[in-house]
Point group: C2
Chain length 407, copies 2
């Protein structure tokens, strides 16, 4: 076992809901000490992310906040100011998805924070680049999906724009924020310097979509179409069998010929309409509809067994439930359990990537609101009577472990 | 202007098509010296990724391979072996999406590579965790979409599983590979140690989907449903106007009431079916169908002007074309031009994130096949006659700049 790569890095986490907590989940999973700052009532996703027995630990909250500590604090309380200054002074990273005006008011913008801690890395996740006309606009995941062209990928395929039923842009921009923070940490290790980083959702997703679908418009002045036309083909979909759906992708001659044998159509191997990659592309409608009609006649298990044996790329089209029962995931011990003091035993997932350093796995379940308030203050050197006074004044709060147990 | 954070890092890039080149695009954009290893004919995505005048620079190839150098080399050629050893000796990072057996045969697996360069970071992007029963299976983006539950998000919303018309899992796993490489670089800066990293597409995407959609199954033994039911609501879609689609997300009372005023239904503000967040959730079908019927009667511009003025979250539902003409992107100078020696003037995108360090922007257009072969060999200290001999033997190849100009 080797120490996690972010061990010793202190993160002041001023994020909520999805995009920010996804980013700090990675930092926490890789060993950073993430202090999640929560208002009275806690992060909205505690309730918005699904049902739990206590009402405070939605499934989504649990999955995105493991390995973090929670500090309950009223940022607008006059006595919270000095405490925040002390917290900032010990933080390597401050990360937030609050709007810029709110940050300035609370003294949590880069100028204020770096005055206290000059080498801080300050990462601000925003909807839009703050220099443009959309700077003040609110951004939700679906708004960014629509504005960035993500929804248009479906319109281009079949006529109607649509959203993906996932907070996909939150997740992707969360990855990008982590990437930027890690780059800034490397920069700091080399130079000793901190920096501020602005991560705008709209611009990052525009880059994401256009890097794939700019099409002929990459050639300045071209009047050719946008879009990767191969990917936008509406026929490329999971295939219906007699009892469900499977995924099959027979691209090379070897794969396609094995598929023809499997569906009892060996004649297609020598049919000039299907005997080469380019021939199949030219006759793609007929190729795929012939394939689909044949596959509809037998079960998924029947086809997957044959395709596995004959090396045709194919997999079950998993439901969430069948995915959780998948043989591979079981063999590689993908799922773990984690005992939560309030919600009981949880199904957790280990880090999917393996390294030869065999990083230790941190495995602390997601915290209750302000569960670590006292400890965080003690770590700052605050004596017990000062902590009690701050609690008394309502500047900080939080259930302690015992209260949590009693719901 | 500040030096890019990966300046001086040397990457030996043994990847092709999408997932790997997306990962090394980020490394190159942030200043690493990425040497793209290409076989005769070059990376498949040069032609598979769309049409270009020369036939060698598809739009997708151009977008994913800027700021890299290309080394044309026949890895199976006996005289290529010594050259690869010399290249490995100077590489900080070796990254690949070849299958494990091929890597071992070519002496490019971690054991072989770290014998030459003990502190190397070796990142292997694979379809499946190599300890499980699926280890040898081929993985394409659509296969991973189906197997990971991504396609099931659509089935859960409306009955039929489907793929997203984007190589979405390639992009996401590319981000994850970068994250792992940056963590390993931080580890090396602290300890001097390299390591191997395995990044499996299936397991990473299973984690991605289930972290959002595990639902009640996070509670071990629960018989509640999987899925975040709020996100899976089929009514959450872009909204049709009289001349297109817009994205609107009126969640709070303030936003919903402004929307009711905008559609001339101020009565809804006091209607107990619509006067609170929970009431609207209970009557979501009626709420959204009333909204949609009203919005269909006027143009997108009409609604966007009102919503902008009244602070209702709303944005155009952009097509790829209208996105490229967006006012915000123009104001923040999102698009750049880049002159390519073969394909002429290109539309490029700057890095979407801004930092106070004002990192310099590298802006070298994507290379031709083996365009940098001679220079890479010269950098290794090879004299001209040795380079000529290697070319003569067919171990290395590549158009030089002048040949490129002549097509």
């Amino acid at each position: 076992m080797s120490q996690l790569p972010l061990k010793g890095i202190k993160v002041l986490d001023l994020t909520s809901v999805i995009v920010g907590p996804v980013a700090t989940r990675w930092l926490a999973d890789y060993g950073a000490d993430v202090i999640k700052v929560e208002p009275e009532g806690g992060d909205l996703i505690r309730t918005l992310g699904g049902v739990s027995s206590s009402g405070r630990f939605s499934p989504k909250y649990l999955n995105f906040n493991r390995n973090k500590r929670s500090l309950g604090i009223d940022l607008k309380h006059p006595e919270a100011q000095a405490l925040m200054r002390d917290l900032i002074a010990q933080s390597d990273i401050v990360i937030t998805n609050m709007r810029h005006n709110a940050l300035v008011k609370l003294g949590l913008d880069y100028a204020s924070v770096s005055a206290i801690r000059p080498d801080v890395i300050h990462c601000s996740i925003v909807g839009f680049d703050q220099r443009g006309p959309y700077a003040g606009k609110p951004a939700y995941d679906t708004i960014v999906q629509g504005a960035s062209g993500f929804a248009d990928t479906f319109a281009r395929m079949e006529g109607t724009p649509r959203y993906v039923p996932l907070t996909i842009t939150d997740h992707i921009v969360g990855f990008i924020a982590v990437q930027m923070v890690l780059l800034a940490l490397l920069h700091r290790r080399m130079t000793g310097e901190g920096q501020s980083i602005e991560v705008p959702m709209f611009e990052n997703m525009a880059d994401f979509i256009l890097s794939e679908h700019m099409g002929q418009k990459v050639f300045t002045g071209s009047d050719g179409p946008t879009g990767d036309l191969r990917i936008l083909n509406p026929l490329t979909q999971p295939i219906r069998t007699s009892d469900g759906y499977i995924c099959v992708s027979a691209n090379t001659d070897k794969q396609a010929f094995a598929l023809f044998d499997a569906i009892d159509r060996p004649d297609m191997k020598t049919d000039p309409r299907f005997s080469s990659v380019s021939a199949r592309l030219k006759n793609i409608d007929l190729y795929l509809s012939t394939r689909d009609a044949a596959l509809a006649r037998q079960t998924s298990a029947h086809w997957l067994e044959i395709f596995d044996r004959t090396d045709v790329p194919a997999m079950p089209c998993h439901t969430f439930e069948s995915l959780m029962a998948d043989d591979q995931l079981s063999a590689v011990e993908f799922f773990d359990t984690l005992d939560h003091p309030v919600e009981g035993r949880l199904t957790d997932m280990r880090l999917p990537n393996r390294t030869s350093k065999n990083w230790e796995k941190p495995s602390v379940p997601a915290p209750d609101i302000g569960q670590d308030t006292d400890q965080v203050l003690r770590d700052l050197g605050y004596p017990d009577n000062r902590i009690a006074a701050l609690r008394q004044a309502g500047a900080v709060f939080g259930r302690n472990a015992e209260e949590s147990h009693n719901g």
